[in-house]
Amino acid sequence: MLHGGLVPHRPYIVSGPPGSGKTVLAMQFLLEGVQGGERCLFVALEEPPNEIKQNMRAFKWVADDVEILDANSDIRRFEPTPVIEISTEVEPARMRDIEDRIRKTPDFESHEVSVHSLQQLLKTLFIKRRYDRVVIDSITALKYFCMREFEESLTTQSFMRFLAESKVTTVLVVELPEEGQAPPESFLARGEIRLHKLRDESGIRRFISIEKYKGSSHDEFVYPFEIHSSGIVVQVADAGQAPAA
């Protein structure tokens, strides 16, 4: 559909409503990289890493070498003591080293992830070693939870600019509401892969489309896809029709 794949070193968006398969697609993108000997980083903002690890067991994947950065904010404290931002010395962990249980918020301090600290941290990581593929899951969580004192769209834009300048191929996961307008971050990326979720008599039918792809030709059609135990499989052979309900 993308006529060969993504143009490297640019940020892309994978968008779709909850349950449409975005995280699976993002993870599959990293897995492909790991198999080619590339260094891959998954920045988790929505789910704790232990759950991601567990979820990926349902697929027949060898994801041990994907690195995960736990950027989930701790439980917030209500006391007026200042919160500690995620430190810039945090290291991502390899998938195989992720523990089975959730990390507990310590009793006396809690880490809060802010867009600023996350950006700093990624910057240090990118200087230390070259990552080939990075996934941010999700930009929506970053926008909702990590921008307490920032202006949302400007900050998102600057964050994406930062990713573009870091010369890493990045997949940004964006949550869409089930109906209505796409959020403004879609306009900022170099390309958007959108996942659609439709219901009909046979259950949920999933579709994938390329909404935008700068610097390359791409298919205009909407194709159906399925989530198998090997991951997402797009059926490019039969052009999907929007089902007449």
Binding site: P18, G19, D74, T105, F145, P177, A244
Partner: protein
Amino acid sequence: MDRVSTGVPGLDAMLGGGLVPARPYVVSGPTGAGKTILAMQFLAAGLAKGEAGLMVTLDEPPNEVKANVVAFGWNLDRLKILDATPDIKAHKRQRSVIDVGTTMDVRDMDQVGEIRQSSQIRAMEVSIHGVQKMLKQEFFQREERTREKYKRIVVDSITALKMFSMAGEDSRIMIQSFMRFLAELEATTLLVSERLNPKILETEFFLCRGEIRFHKSLDGNVIRRAVSIEKFRGSRFDSRVRPMSITNQGITVDPQGVVAMTGGHLAALGEEYLEQRLGDEVTTVIEAVLKLIEDAHRMRMAVTDVEHAISRATLQLQRRHYQKALKTALHAQAVIRERLEKARQGPPPPPPPQPPPQGVPAPGVRR
């Protein structure tokens, strides 16, 4: 993998055995769809296996919760219920509100009596902080007392928690933090959520690890109930909408049953997408007709009615009545084409107009 039963065998079958433990889930649906019943059934199933359960009620006072489930005959005596319904607000000048967290009220279901009377002097107000603190205290006190953790927690409802208790707070961040808190308790949690507006992405829907959605539709004068799994991380699941009913046993789901997709809201999921396509179609047709109108003007033909029709179609398009707009536009197109055709055949031969652009016939026109 271990699974946690929802207490509804049919639903467990849809979930591929049950819920993945120690995670928060959302139960959504319109009012009266059975969300609270499912939540209670889930807790009852836990109690039957000796798993401790805790119900946090914000919508109804505990005495009503108790009365409502009597009909099902579940043994819920050992269920802990935490009353987080806010008091009548005291409208006084000075701040006389005390947080629910400081006077917590957790009791066994069999201890639940009358409705708690709001105190004359001070009113309790619920805050997410208060609820969280109360939950935490109760959770750890129980662990100390009985060396046993709560395995199942229900929050009924997260919508109420958001509405009453977050005045002045950033509710997205508070919900994120609350769900993180629930995940760290390592109990399987059901968050009851009223679906208010599908156009707004509510935090709990994308942070939850799965969503069970109830549907309710009117078929003639019978209420039809159905249930579907919208999202379920880390497991395969049955993605169809399955019929369910509420009997004196509680909720039963027929995991083999088929729901006719005629009900308006069931099809609503793909609607926006189709509407967008349809909107594009209408725009194409309107543009084509506008070109034809220009041609007609050049030939000095009277086409006022078509112009009216097209402005009506534009208005309908703006009001998002896509089907109507499409119909109006297509009709106008047919009329003006026919008229142009006639004028062209009749003498004197007019200057050759441009071939009219083809209006694309709409696929999937519904209703």
